[in-house]
């Protein structure tokens, strides 16, 4: 059996593996999360506020994500509204407040355990249309830097990786390092069964995950289950 971690727990694991996630804080009440946001130097307006929990899989569909929160008043209001939307079946929930990073290009990366080939790592064109576009490239984990570079080259939408709408070209070295690190995660932590980083926004060309979802075996010692 597996257990899906909350976004905050998933982000924590990614950060430990040197995978860039947007700066974030969490709290169980509005006051707690606002105080944490104010205390964190990298969590700056505009912000994103979300309601997270292990049982909440589809935040966007349920309206549990507030973008472009521009001041403290708006943040407090967003947090109060999000908490009011929680349902009994959501179990333990928490507020997650993160810096809203700027970038028009969204990639996706992830891990999936294939029934024939075992743990695989993926990169592709991300965002809400990721599954419809299906421009993705897989390799068997773990991968080398050469494998990662070829994965990126295999994507059909190469123009998205060049200079784009005033933004610099994708930092391939940073992408390669992220993919290699991601592919090592399930090798070093075998209880990790799958992962989604979607979207990975290219910020100054570098990939920054603004959402993360990790699935672990329920006997994992990665977190207090």
């Amino acid at each position: 059996m597996t257990l899906t971690l909350s976004e905050a727990e998933s982000r924590q694991i990614m950060a430990e593996y040197d995978i860039f996630v947007s700066p974030f804080v969490t709290g169980s009440t509005t006051n707690e999360v606002v105080a944490a946001a104010q205390a964190h130097p990298a969590v700056t307006f505009p912000l994103v506020a979300k309601l997270c929990g292990r049982a909440i899989a589809h935040k966007t569909e349920r309206g549990l994500v507030r973008l472009n929160v521009n001041d403290e008043t708006a943040l407090r209001q967003a947090c109060d509204e999000l908490l009011a939307k929680s349902r009994p079946e959501d179990g333990d929930v928490e507020l997650l407040v993160s810096t809203m990073v700027a970038g028009s290009r969204e990639l996706i990366a992830g891990l999936v355990d294939d029934p024939q080939f075992g743990m695989t790592v993926m990169v592709g064109i991300g965002g809400v249309l990721a599954e419809a576009i299906a421009d993705v490239s897989f390799r068997l984990a773990p991968i080398t830097e050469v494998d990662a570079a070829e994965m990126i080259d295999d994507l059909a939408t190469q123009r998205l990786l060049g200079p784009f709408r005033g933004e610099p070209q994708a930092d391939r070295t940073a992408l390669i390092q992220m993919l290699v690190a991601l592919s090592r995660l399930p090798i070093n932590e075998p209880s990790v069964r799958s992962a989604d980083l979607n979207p990975l926004i290219l910020v100054d060309g570098k990939p920054v995950a603004v959402d993360a979802l990790v699935e672990v075996a329920d006997d994992t010692d990665l977190i207090d289950a």
Partner: protein, 485 residues
Amino acid sequence: MPDLRSLFNPRGIIVSGVSNHPGKFGFVTLHNILSCGFQGPVFALGREAGEVLNVPVLASIDDVPDGAADFLFICTPPALNEDLLRRAAAKGVTAAFCAAGGYREAGPDGAEAEARLVALCADLGIALAGPNGQGVVSTPANMCAQIVAPYAPPGRIAIASQSGNFVSSFLNMANHTGVGVSRAVAAGNASVLGIADYLEYFSDDDETAVSLVYLESVDDGRELFERIRPLSERKPIVVVKGGASAAGARAAASHTGALATDDAVFDGMCRQAGLIRARDVEEAFEAAATFATQPLPKGDRVVVVTTVGGWGVAAVDAIADTRLTTAALPDDLFAAINDKLPPRWSKNNPIDMAGGETRDTVPEILELVAGHDEVDAVVLLGLGIQSRTAAMLRSGGFFPDHGLERIVAFHERQDTRYAEAAAEISASTGTPVVAATELANTDPNNPAPATLRAMGRLCHASAGRAVRSLHHLASYAAWRRHRGL
């Protein structure tokens, strides 16, 4: 690690289940072994005494001289085969191909019989191919040990297939194109020897330049990957996968899981392991035939050389769909070509000679292009059209008068020279020169495709297909380059 030497290079062969009925597998196998020229001793085992195809039929394998044969081809049903294998091992047999069915594919009893067969062969030290397979071909041994046709011309492609039908398909293509085969084996139920075992043998085999695989099911994908990856470093392996469309996206909570179709994961595995994945059977054979007969390109830069326009345009379109590029001609190459062609030539890549070639133009241009440092591969189009005209002049009722005899001979000689030049210049410069014309199919005896075939090289049937083959060569070359190989 099973030793496959006596499977592909036997000293002598024993065929079981031989009768005088020419519709039966035993008869046909014996016929194919004898008629394709196997040089070692061949023994036939059967229930009825007498001769089949002039070979005496022995009632028991005990009548075979000790050590005379090391390869057993089994056409007898499961009930007889365990005893047969025990006695065969005592005679010095170290490899067996079990063509007989009635094993795993036939139900639970068959599966039990197959399990006993596997255990027995492990005990006896016999490398077992099949069961339920069509056979094995090995041209260096002049051996066609198959229950069906065809045999193939000798060459450097080694075939391993999870479907016997596709062994036949590939061998038919080898016969049609003239690009030959070293080994070919149908894995059958693959109860002992599987695709990875055959590929390991091929990677060490001096007679083989490239392996060609038809794959349908993968039991342990991770093991296959780990075993094949080091083999790709030694020789190219071309793979075509059946059933790729069968399983679509899985139900998955994650986006990554939803995107992980069997096909996408298999494709990534191929790219990682250096396997060359073809889209279909024709593309797979043509890629293998090109690997077997052309040098690897150093990079992706292609120059298209054509005698007339439209073909070149289509080739450039096909190149745009691949990793290959059609760069502008380097200045010094441009100048050298410009000196040799009339002013109406295209002055660009593709090099369209606009029908302006004289006696030596095509070989001279080819030599300049293929010999240039900034050209990694050449696509040559327009071969055979002079001979096509010659054929019409020959059959139109005016031949040999009106000067036709001389011009027909000239045209045919020219096409022969172009085909020879394509082969010789590619060999001397180390740059692949792939030729394409539909005449390979529509007029195979035309001197252009016929000469290429006689030189053991593939004449692609279209520019697009030539470009796909070249793309596979360039992809494999890049895979090697990226890894410092």
